[in-house]
């Protein structure tokens, strides 16, 4: 057992140097606004030009075949440098792993390069008004037609969909089949004929997500991911990567925790030991998440349901860390700024990518082996 990172130091140094030269001096406007979205898209293009937008992907799709350890190091440097949020993350972290697992070579060639460059930005379209935690209750349909499918119904809470270019998600293609059967996983343009999108303001009013109304939206066969009818399996392949490390890498939290310690040094009343405990705890937990990341990439077996353990941990750490920062800021805690933006973003963490209630069920049933809910 060791923590010897010397083999990745040259890579780390390259990434650090590049970021030092390129990260915008002033923060970009929030990526949940039209102006900010465009600025973040331009940043993705810049990253891609240096082959740093998707380091873990194969070179032929715009990556560098980086090892998981190199990816962890990239993320550490990225967030330590205060680089912009990743507007492409839903595509890169959710759709791309699904395509690597279930996509055809033609899909990989067609979809991945423009995703890597920020030319096409993807939105996740899974939830529906009646299908949140209970995703298998989804009702939006995909009907077989000549050469493809017609989509009808409604999706909602679709992150980034207010400004993104394309969406992906499961649709019910066989209404007669059981809940988990008869779903088909599809990719579609958000400006398609028959598709209406209505941006939804999140807690701070910024249009971070949207609802989508489908009225006979045509999707060609080439945009089905996996086999028709296998959409549940395909979707679950995505949730595995969502809950693993890729959605929220340790680097985000170690960088934020270091900034929190800096804030404490600047602003805290040393006699406030309650706050001191919380600052220390945020740093300790960020360190724990970082070390857990090293543990995960050191393991050879599939992480599987254990990824739910990660999701509960990082999402609650993120909220606690930002709450602590706002408390440290006292009366300034309510003022617009990076900490507040981070706080509002963090509040969604325990909800999206499978609520933490669902994750705890998964942990209890599939990791600890407790009886299934509702079964005697």
């Amino acid at each position: 057992m060791d923590l010897d990172l010397s083999s990745v130091e040259p890579f780390r140094a390259e990434v650090r140097d590049w970021l030092r030269a390129h990260v915008p001096a002033a923060p970009l406007p929030s990526l949940e606004t039209g102006e900010g979205f465009a600025a973040h898209r331009a940043w993705e293009r810049e990253l891609a030009a240096a082959r740093l937008s998707v380091v873990s992907w194969p070179a032929r799709y715009g990556g560098r075949d980086a090892t998981p350890l190199e990816w962890l190091v990239f993320e550490e440097e990225y967030y330590a440098a205060g680089a912009p949020g990743r507007v492409s993350q839903n595509g890169i972290n959710l759709l791309a792993p699904t395509l690597f697992k279930y996509g055809t070579p033609e899909q990989l060639d067609r979809v991945l390069p423009p995703m890597a460059s920020g030319e096409v930005i993807w939105a996740q379209a899974w939830s529906e008004p009646g299908a949140g935690s209970d995703l298998a209750a989804l009702r939006a349909t995909a009907t077989r037609v000549d050469g493809g499918w017609l989509l009808n119904g409604q999706k909602t809470w679709s992150s980034r969909a207010a400004f993104a270019d394309r969406g992906f998600g499961p649709f019910r293609s066989d209404p007669e089949a059981g809940r988990h059967r008869g779903l088909t996983y599809l990719m579609f343009p958000l400006d398609a004929e028959g598709l209406t999108r209505r941006p939804i303001g999140r807690l701070d009013g910024k249009p971070a997500f949207a609802e989508l109304f489908f009225d006979d939206v045509f999707v060609p066969d080439a945009d089905v991911v996996g086999e028709p009818g296998e959409g549940w399996k395909v979707a679950m392949g995505t949730t595995g990567s969502e809950r693993g490390l890729t959605l929220r890498s340790p680097g985000r939290f170690t960088a934020a925790a270091d900034r929190l310690v800096g804030l404490w040094r600047e602003r805290a009343d040393p006699a406030d030991t309650a706050l001191r405990d919380r600052v220390a705890d945020a740093w300790i937990k960020a360190r724990a998440y970082r070390l857990k990341g090293f543990e995960t990439v050191s393991r050879t077996e599939d992480v599987g349901a254990e990824s739910s353990v990660n999701k509960v941990f990082w999402s609650e750490l993120d909220v606690a860390l930002h709450e602590t920062a706002l408390d440290l800021l006292g009366p300034d805690g309510e003022l617009e700024g990076d900490w507040l933006e981070g706080y509002v973003f963090s509040l969604a963490g325990p909800i999206y990518a499978g609520t933490n209630e669902i994750q705890r069920n998964v942990i209890a049933e599939r990791v600890l082996g407790l009886p299934r809910e509702g079964k005697a």
């Binding site: 310690v261 300790i284 050191s298 509960v312 600890l368 082996g369 407790l370």
Partner: protein, 379 residues
């Protein structure tokens, strides 16, 4: 980079787990609590045979150490089986003695020992709770190399399991654990290391922890080297305790999951209810993130970050184990609240070890003081 236990380290942990599972540890714990240390001492000897105590003793002194990763692997299993006795104290004492022995052997601590010698004339008038330890502690040699003598006398015995050592490091470790069952009782007071006389015994929540106030005897060793060695000893003791806590928490989760899967109410196992599941899931989450901190701290042994990383591990392991204990109690219901049912052995130990070797708040403060460069404030 490979941040998981290697095959040999895993096998070592599994071997200890099997050894302890077959040794009837709950009986030894209860005997220990009742003042009969013999079954516990027998356990101690078989752990020594398996190489546990040698991990903290340098090779030059008859051990196999220092091997901190193996040490935390072992202490996880000791906690998992609620092994009684001054375990963390003994390995911390080994660290203390090894450091002093080093200093004496290399001559680098010579001035320190001279300082001490000039400050204490009463070297014949040593008090000790045990004749045996008095012999060893006094050594009879010149005062200038007492650190070396102490180390030479005790380290091989610690490695082979023949010496149970209790150690007080006030203020964080004010009592000498199980001093009545120990072969040597040490107390460090500032710059002075003394053989100690056990005073009044105090009752702990964990009946297998017999806490003695100590009366310091004379100072066999003194000087700044003692303070530095005591700092290192504290770190290793706190790390061992953190690993022990992680093992205590793991065991509590195991028995509680098993219980929740079999105990039936309302026509189904209580583990089928979400309210129960979510509590147990939270315990797993906490334990899963305490482990890498413990391993990370073990790998930091000898680095400038060791103290900080030990504190991070101890704070997290204390919280995780304590959460495991509270959940175990709640899920077991009334039977978990009974003395006679074995989970109580771990439930009580989790609470006791949480405050032993530095409270979570003290360790958090130390993490932050290390991070902000304010090194004195938390020492």
């Amino acid at each position: 980079m490979k941040f998981v236990l290697d095959a040999e380290q895993r096998l070592f942990g599994e071997t200890l787990n099997k050894l302890l599972a077959g040794a009837g540890t709950p009986g030894a714990v209860r005997a220990w609590a009742a003042g009969d240390p013999e079954p516990g001492r027998a356990l101690w000897r078989s752990l020594a045979e398996a190489g546990v105590f040698a991990l903290a003793v340098p090779e030059a002194a008859g051990g196999a150490g220092p091997l901190p990763v193996e040490l935390v692997t072992a202490f996880h299993e000791l906690g998992r089986h609620a092994v009684p006795g001054p375990l963390a104290e003994t390995v911390a004492a080994a660290e203390l003695l090894a450091r002093l022995g080093d200093g004496a052997g290399l001559g680098s601590g010579h001035e320190d020992f001279e300082d001490r010698a000039s400050g204490h004339e009463d070297s014949e008038d040593r008090a000790s709770g045990h004749e045996d330890s008095e012999d060893r502690a006094s050594g009879g040699g010149s005062s200038g190399d007492h650190g070396g003598e102490l180390a030479a006398a005790w380290l091989p015995r610690i490695a082979e399991g023949a010496a149970v050592v209790s150690l007080a490091l006030p203020p964080a470790v004010p009592y000498a654990l199980d001093a009545d069952a120990a072969d040597l009782v040490l107390v460090v007071d500032g710059d002075e290391l003394r053989a100690a006389v056990p005073g009044t015994v105090r009752t702990s929540l964990d009946p297998a922890r017999r806490l003695f106030s100590v009366e310091a005897g004379t100072a066999p060793v003194s000087g700044p080297a003692v303070r530095a060695a005591a700092g290192a000893a504290f770190d290793l003791g706190a790390l061992a305790c953190a690993a022990q806590l992680a093992g205590v928490g793991r065991r509590l989760l195991e028995v509680t999951v098993e219980y929740a899967g079999t105990r039936r109410q309302f026509g189904r196992p209580i583990g089928g209810f979400q309210a129960v599941k979510h509590q147990l899931a939270d315990v797993l989450v906490a334990l899963e993130y305490a482990r890498p901190l413990v391993h990370g701290a073990a790998l930091a042994y000898g680095s400038p970050d060791f103290s900080r990383d030990v504190s991070a591990a101890k704070a997290a392991a204390s919280d995780a184990a304590y959460a495991a204990a509270r959940t175990a109690l709640q899920v077991h219901g009334a039977i978990g609240y009974t003395d006679e049912y074995d989970p109580s052995l771990w439930i009580r130990k989790a609470r006791a070890l949480r405050s032993a070797w530095g409270s979570p708040a003290a360790h958090r403060a130390r993490v932050l003081s290390r991070l902000t460069g304010d090194r004195e404030s938390a020492e």
